[in-house]
Structure formats: C-alpha cells, structure tokens
C-alpha cells in the first residue's frame, strides 16, 4: 500500500486557497460557496416531490427560479470539490474507506455528525452562507455580516467544546 503522505503546511494550503478564491472573484465577480449548493439540491428535490410546498416557501422558490437547481453554479462547483478532494486524497494515498470495522467511527460520532449537520444547515440558511461562502469569501471582501457570522461561529464552538469533550477524546 502506498505510504500516507503527510498533509501540506496549513499556511501554504491557505494561501493556495486564497489564490483560488481570488481567481474566482476575478473571473466571475463572486466568491465560492458550499451551503448554497446543498440548498439548491434540497429545493430541487422538494420541487420535484411536492411542487406546492416549493411554491409556498420563499426559501425554496429562491433556488428554483433561476433555471435548473441541478446545474446551479454552486452545485457544479461542489461536484468539483468532490472530484478535487478525491484526486488529491488518492494521489497522496489518503483514501481510507471508513466502512471497515476497524476504522468505522462510533455510533455516537455518526449521530453527532448528523445532528451537527442539522444545526449547520439551519445556521447556514439563516446566515445565507457557511464557512466557505460567507466567512471566507465574504470575509475577504470585509463584509460585516461575514465577520459577525465568523465571530459567532468560533464563539459558539469554543464555548460548547468543553461540554462535548467525550466526543473528541
């Protein structure tokens, strides 16, 4: 099995990420994002399963009125993220299927993952973005809302971490 290559220096990876973000701004006038892609997909599913529900919620409507939600810019971008991450991991020998018993996370961890995801989904919807779109891209443009979101995020994280210490030994 190929040796596991160690991770890159975070500062260097961060600078590379910043350059990608800069290129994105220069090419499209907007930053990147992630939660919007998820929202697009959810809206698409709701729209397909129950169009009435989609029409009654301004939230879903907003993701359905600019063309197909399945080919939204952010959705294509997030597919790119999956491909890029997979390629990088594969080349570095870091793909590790955690379905195997030895490396599978505990049921508690998985439950926490889903719960955490639900909370993040709610938070991202309210804030109109997440760490990638709002905090990173908005933060680089010095948006007040982005910085408020970021400070609140880290505050909540640091304050609640001691309470769930058992989850992350």
């Amino acid at each position: 099995m190929r040796a596991l290559r160690s991770y890159a220096d975070p500062h260097v990876a961060g600078v590379c990420l910043g350059l990608v973000l800069l290129a994105c701004f220069a090419l499209t006038g907007q930053g990147l994002g992630a939660s919007g892609a998820f929202a697009s997909v959810v809206s698409g599913v709701v729209g397909a399963v129950s169009p009435e529900t989609a029409v009654n919620s301004a939230y879903f409507r907003s993701y359905l009125q600019d063309g197909s939600p399945w080919t939204a810019w952010l959705v294509v971008e997030i597919i790119g993220v999956l491909i890029g991450a997979a390629t990088s991991a594969a080349l570095a020998g870091r793909i590790r299927l955690t379905f195997a018993r030895s490396t599978r996370p505990s049921a508690a961890r998985l439950f926490a993952g889903v719960s955490g995801g639900i909370l993040m989904g709610i938070g991202a919807a309210l804030a109109r973005g997440c760490t990638s779109g709002l905090a990173l891209s908005g933060g680089a443009m010095l948006s007040v809302g982005a910085w408020v979101f970021m400070v609140a995020l880290f505050l909540a994280g640091f304050l609640s971490a001691p309470l769930i210490r058992r989850l992350w030994p």
Binding site: A8, Q30, L32, L82, L97, G121, G123, A140, L142, V148
Partner: protein, 179 residues
C-alpha cells in the same frame, strides 16, 4: 457554459487545497475548538488574507474592479444567530458543508452523515420559512463592509485586518513552538 466550466475548475482546486490541508478529517477540525490543532484557523486566516490583499492590490493595479465584486448582504440578527447555531453544529460533527464533501471524497462515512444532516437542516428551514421569514429578513444592512461601517478608507481597513490576522497567526505559532 463557460461559467459552469469555471465553477467546476474552481471547485476542483478548492477541494484539492482543502484535502491537502487535512480539512477532510473530523478529529483535526474539531481539534481547533480544543486548541489542539490550529489547522482551521491557519487555513482560514491565510486564505482570507491572501484573497483580501489580492482583491485590494489587483484593484489598485487596475487588473479588475473590486467595487463590482459581490459583497454578501448583512443581516445582523439572523447572521449572528446563524453563526452561533452553525458553530455548535461544527463542533458536533467536526466538519462544515465544504469539508463534509472533502471527507466523503476521502472515503469517510462521517462526511455522508454530516451531509445528511445538512440536507435535513436546510429542509427544515425551508419548510418552516413562512413562519420565520420576518426574522430571516430582519436587521438588513445591505452589502455593508467594515470600511463603510467605520468610515475608514479601504486601504486602512486592509492594513488593520492584515495586522490583526498576522498577529493571531504569530500567536498560534508561538504557542505551538512552546509545546
């Protein structure tokens, strides 16, 4: 079509950089909140600093016009509350929306768990939207920036943010060296 090609390209580079930094690994990300692993802050601050300086100087050198770049709209209350809720979720799952994709792409089932939760959370907000819409639309400030808020020139704001961000990064380095 061109636009979508750019989207794909940006996404691939984005995912690649995140994976290289190790941000597809939940214990690593959660470690930030136990002050054990500062990768999250290092990556975020470095990226933000790079992009911010790039936007400013690119604009000054006439390469593009930053005034035309998208600044998210500020809605103070929903973004504050959203941030708090998001932070709690972040510590629980050890991943965020973008990094959950990186985790999944590395074969981690935790990524799938977080994504499932994300879809659910967004669905809940969408379904409850008619009731929470007034809160969602409250305290709008438009595309407010730090420089417009404080009345300081763009360049001065950039300098301030640079100094603060670099100070935090330096503090982190010092703390890690002391271990």
């Amino acid at each position: 079509m061109n636009n979508l090609l750019i989207a794909g390209g940006v996404g691939v580079a984005f995912g690649w950089a995140l994976e290289c930094a190790g941000l597809g690994d939940p214990p690593k990300l959660a470690g930030q909140f136990y002050l054990r692993d500062f990768t999250v802050l290092k990556v975020m601050l470095s990226a933000m600093l790079t992009a911010m300086l790039g936007v400013f100087w690119g604009g000054r050198l006439g390469m593009f016009n930053p005034a035309a770049f998208y600044v998210p709209e500020t809605h103070l209350l929903p973004q504050l509350v959203g941030g708090l809720v998001f932070g709690l979720g972040f510590v629980l799952s050890g991943l965020c929306p973008g990094t959950s994709c990186v985790a999944l792409a590395s074969g981690r089932i935790e990524g799938a768990a977080t994504m499932l939760g994300l879809f659910t959370g967004l669905l809940l907000v969408g379904l409850a939207f008619p009731s929470i819409e007034p809160f969602y639309r409250s305290t709008p400030q438009g595309p407010l920036t730090l420089q417009r808020l404080t009345g300081l020139p763009f360049g001065v704001m950039v300098a301030l943010v640079t100094v603060v961000a670099l100070s935090v990064l330096a503090w982190i380095s010092k703390r890690e060296a002391a271990r």
